[in-house]
């Protein structure tokens, strides 16, 4: 795999606590990649170690195939949206981006164009002359997103990018991320698994500073191997034999209340569209109402099933 970011056995300790405990990660170049994990799992630490904000204790970091982060080599090519970091309050939005752009080596012409572009993306063009302290929390967040995309970096690391954004702005940012240029790699750390599922090509589950699982989104959510039908309640008995004949080799599971019917197919060549065509023909032919169809599982369920063993036990409520 041509990796934009590769971590191998990375260890980072804070005193006695191991925030990263031999973390391995490989992010394919040109992908949008999600980092999923519980609070304190090591996602933020991993991103900070990647760009040298935190000094690692062991392991290797390989950025863009050129080794460890080096500001002279990677300035402007790798950017970060850090979590819980405040922008300088007195600077004006445009001046701040200008300063950051100059630091990463952009020429005046390129920088001017890039500032116009990213401010347009995040809907802050009308506030470009405003001091940061006069912006709302959401606007500041958008400005921090804008700085991460200044100058078309090759690798963008975003730590909780959508937190504090209203639904409209979050949707806008998601659309921007999908429209990014092909060579750009974006790594997103987020607790919003639905968002990651819709945005990302792949994801990694991290718990207790270790990689639990990493794969592309289709495999993680079993999109290519599972279809669930949500059926009208109180309907007729399911024609299971007919369904099995329609899709030989597939297995069928039904919830006790009969509201969900899941088909799992292990044949790699089977297409979901073909599976739907055959299954729906049987179901609709028997007058069974189909309310909704979902391809695959969802990232949240998969995350829970994969990481339950690693998660800290929940303290009993008193």
């Amino acid at each position: 795999m041509n990796a934009a970011l590769e971590l191998k056995g990375v260890v980072k300790t804070y005193g006695r606590r191991r925030a990263l405990d031999g973390l391995d990660l490989a992010v394919p170049r040109g992908s949008i990649f999600g980092l999923v994990g519980s609070n304190g799992a090591g996602k933020t630490t991993a991103l900070a170690v990647t760009v040298g904000l935190l000094c690692r204790d062991a392991g290797t970091v390989n950025l863009l195939g050129e080794g460890t982060f080096d500001p002279l080599r990677h300035a402007g090519r790798v950017t970060l949206l850090p979590q819980d970091s405040r922008l300088p309050l007195h600077a004006r939005a445009e001046d701040l981006l200008w300063f950051y752009g100059r630091l990463q080596g952009l020429t005046e012409g390129t920088l001017r164009e890039s500032i116009d572009e990213v401010l347009e993306w995040v809907h802050l063009n009308d506030r470009r002359r405003s001091p940061v302290r006069t912006l709302s929390h959401g606007m500041m967040r958008r400005l921090t997103i804008a700085q991460a995309f200044l100058g078309q970096p090759e690798l963008v690391l975003l730590d909780e990018p959508m937190s504090g954004l209203d639904p409209r702005e979050a949707a806008r940012i998601r659309a921007i991320l999908k429209r990014r240029h092909d060579a750009q790699t974006v790594v997103i750390s987020s607790h919003n698994l639905h968002e990651l599922e819709t945005l990302c090509d792949g994801a990694a589950f991290i718990e207790a500073g270790r990689l639990v699982r990493q794969d592309n989104m289709d495999t993680l959510t079993r999109r290519s191997r599972r279809v669930t039908y949500f059926l009208e309640p109180g309907g007729r008995a399911l024609p299971m034999e007919e369904l099995k004949q329609a899709l030989p080799g597939a297995t069928w599971e039904q919830t006790p209340d009969g509201a969900e019917l899941t088909v799992k197919f292990f044949d790699e060549t089977a297409r979901a569209a073909e599976v739907n065509a055959r299954a729906l023909a049987v179901l609709l032919g028997h007058g069974i109402g189909v309310l909704e169809i979902r391809r695959g599982s969802n990232l949240e369920s998969e995350y829970f099933s994969v990481t339950d063993a690693h998660a800290a036990p929940v303290a009993p409520s008193t």
């Binding site: 900070a48 040298g52 000094c55 500001p71 970060l80 405040r86 080596g105 921090t144």
Partner: protein, 301 residues
């Protein structure tokens, strides 16, 4: 331009514009200028009182404005011999007596308050960016050293402007309030003392920026900056007072490592002493700053 130099310059410019936007620079300039005006007014008043008492004692008419008697005394051969005797070096004494009294006072004043104001204004400059996390937006765009050096240079330029402005304030105050005032000689001498105070201040600026890189809390950094500055003064005082061996030699060696140990050389009018002191003070400033950088270069941000 080399990327490192370009980034240092970019950070320096940003430091200046940020100080102006945040009104920190205005506060700094007001502090320096106000300090110079008030101190000069007090100096002129005290000088006038002393001159009037002297005039009364010798039975001559009391002057309406300050400066006349002192100027006359400054030119008096016996007074000059007395000063030569006190200084212990005729050439140095003659050079000092070429300096107008107001400029000498300004020199003493600026050497006194510059370290205090430098620690007050600069010891939090890096720590507050660590504290707020805003440093994280820069550290993947430039090297930590470029950023620190840029901040240092930005602060040094602000200090120079502040000292020149305070010199101008003292000069205008003296011109308005003193009866006998040589504008040219005063302007030249005050400008020279402003530059010397700046060089002296650069060493303390290195201390402030060094502490600021080590301590993440802005308030604690400022407090520690003051504590270290006081310790430096104690070393210089002890180096002057203690005569018992081997303490005297140890203290003299230590005194070379603090700005106070080079203050008198910088005061001296001859180029050799002042030049050596300048080199030492600039080197000390850089050394303190780099000592802080040793920690900053490895700290988690």
């Amino acid at each position: 331009m080399n990327a490192t130099l370009r980034n240092i310059w970019t950070v320096t410019l940003h430091e200046l514009t940020d100080s102006i936007r945040s009104r920190r620079a205005i506060v700094l300039l007001i502090l320096y200028a106000l300090n110079a005006v008030v101190a000069t007014l007090i100096f002129v008043k005290v000088l006038h009182e002393m001159e009037n008492q002297f005039e009364k004692a010798v039975g001559v008419a009391e002057a309406q404005k300050a400066g006349g008697t002192t100027t006359a005394m400054w030119k008096n051969r016996h007074f000059r011999e007395l000063i030569s005797h006190l200084v212990g070096n005729k050439e140095t004494a003659e050079k000092l007596l070429e300096t107008p009294p107001l400029a000498l006072f300004f020199g003493w004043l600026s050497f006194f308050y510059t370290p205090l104001l430098v620690i007050l204004m600069s010891a939090s400059r890096i720590s507050e960016e660590i504290w707020s996390g805003s440093v994280r937006f820069m550290m993947f765009r430039t090297s930590r050293l470029s950023w620190c050096v840029g901040k240092y240079a930005g602060q040094a330029l602000q200090l120079l402007v502040a000292l020149l402005l305070s010199g101008l304030a003292a000069w205008i105050t003296g011109w308005c309030r003193m009866g006998f005032f040589d504008p040219g000689a005063n302007a030249a001498a005050i400008a020279l003392f402003s530059l010397k105070a700046w060089i002296y201040g650069i060493a303390f600026l290195g201390l402030a920026m060094g502490v600021s890189q080590i301590i993440a809390s802005p308030h604690v950094a400022t407090a520690i900056g003051f504590v270290v500055m006081i310790l430096f003064s104690v070393v210089s005082m002890l180096a002057e007072w203690v005569t018992r061996q081997p303490w005297q030699e140890i203290l003299n060696a230590l005194d070379l490592l603090v700005p106070g140990g080079h203050k008198m050389d910088l005061w001296l009018p001859d180029a050799l002493h002042a030049g050596v002191a300048t080199v030492f003070l600039l080197a000390l400033g850089a050394a303190y700053m780099l000592a802080g950088y040793v920690r900053f270069s490895r700290r988690n941000l």
